[in-house]
Amino acid sequence: MSEPVYQVLVVEDDPHLAAGVVENLRAEGFRVDTVSDGRRAVEWFDTHHCDLIVLDAMLPGLDGFAVCRTLRERGTKTPVLFLTALGEATDRIRGLEAGGDDYLAKPFHLQEFLLRVRAILRRWEWYRASARTAGSDVLKFAGNEVDFRAFRGRSWNGEEQELTEKEAMILKVLAEKPGEIVSREDLLEKVWGYDVFPSTRTVDNFILKLRKRFERDPANPVHFLTVWGVGYRFIPEPAP
């Protein structure tokens, strides 16, 4: 089976940099579109879709963080790689909180950029492939139900839940190994990649969100258990 041809959208206002990124992505076999400002990037999604967005943070009009947030609010799950001159840890966190998947500070190494692009697409492909597999596209546990393909669920009290792609991916990783301990590092590696976050505490925040959605008593969880100092264990049907 031949490798799929991925569509990438490059949002960069500097024409030279945009041209360099586009040329290299095309040389690697990607289909690439480019827009030069934030508002047009959001409008682009009205009529197009893609597998990855390479997004500059400092854009005229609507900045990259706002673009990412707007797309996430509209339900666009497409992974985002921030490419920006803002390299401080706080900026990285800002980008990832806005819904970004990875962050590369300018100036960057071409090979590292290409590796990160491929890593994001690989993680995304893993999620999509495993969500496509019959029987594993829907997770049911203790009255909760999660549709991994639609990023939607229904909790034990009948409340509809709209999951972010990160919540869905974390749940997917945990659900693949029910009852087993999954370390925070494993979750980071599978869901974000290696060195994106300054702290594994970020995973904890996502686990808290999952507990709020699916636990009867989030303060005393029975499905998403913390294994102190190691990681998490997912128990679909706890023993009474």
Binding site: H16, A18, G20, S36, R39, P60, A85, F108, H109, L110
Partner: protein
Amino acid sequence: MKRTRLFQITVLLLVVVAAVQVGYWLYDQHVRGVEKTAALTRLYDQQAAAARALLDGGAPLQRVQETFPDLAVNAQKVELAPEHRAALLAEQQHRLTQYQWEGGFFLFALCACIGVIFAALRAETRVLNEQEQFLALVSHQFKTPLASLQLSVETMNLRQLPPERSRALLERMLSDLTRMETMVGQILDSSRLSHGRWDLKREPVLLDATVNRVVSQYLERAQTDHIAIESQVPADLRVLADPIAVDVVVRNILENALAAVAPVGGGTVTLAARAQGEEVELAVRDSGIGFRPDDQPQLFRKFSRLNAGAGSSYYGTGLGLYIVQRLMQLTGGRVSASSEGLGRGAEFRLTWPMAGTQAESHA
């Protein structure tokens, strides 16, 4: 820097403590003066009472007068001698006046010190914050052409490119280097302007010589970007300004116009000057990306970058027009900009006071 700051804050605290001490000393002296006068008055009252008792007991008037020399004693009444009362009041008044003047002066001097040190500390904090912000913005502005340069170099290193592609990449790299060089110049100019280190003269400057010299330096770049530059400046027009400032202003305005025309694939830039009463106006018109009328106030702001959309992009430093406005303000001129909208070009008008005779003029 931290040690200096610590020292300044310590001195400020010491001066504040000294001021409080002087204030307390003034208050204390005032209270003590009043108390001392009251004690003396009480003592004289007691003496008067004793003298009265002696007189009432039948003591001879002369003896009582000798025993209490500070009192005025006669058969009808006993009281403090008027010269002693006057001396007592005069001494109290003298002390109080002395304390008020000396203490007041010290207090004033100390408060002035506090004010000066506090203002200096505040000014220093503001300058430090501005410098930090400036540095952050400057480094950000540099990272984009640097990233583009690195990407081009690594692309050539990673891939086998046909000669025409390599040439195109080399041209892009040269353009990025020019961009960075322009940035360095603009950052230095902007820094000099911000810190008031530009010793601006006011002398007659021959406008057409400056415009022609600047235009000639940009002809090659304009040709590459398919831009025609037309200059219509009468030969005898002289403006009253700083010659270097006029050069920098024209250069930045032309740079801005070229950057606006290049993204639309080429066009024209026209520089036309004319006398208008006591002033000279240089209008620089371009057929470039233009700007939204709403964006007009942002044009001259430091580090503001506008994007016109429609496939165009502006990759300046965000300093050029700021420098133009500051220099025009400082040399008694003004600048304004207008555009009919995105994609419809723009016009920048530079206005200087007209200068005197040709004999004095400089190019």
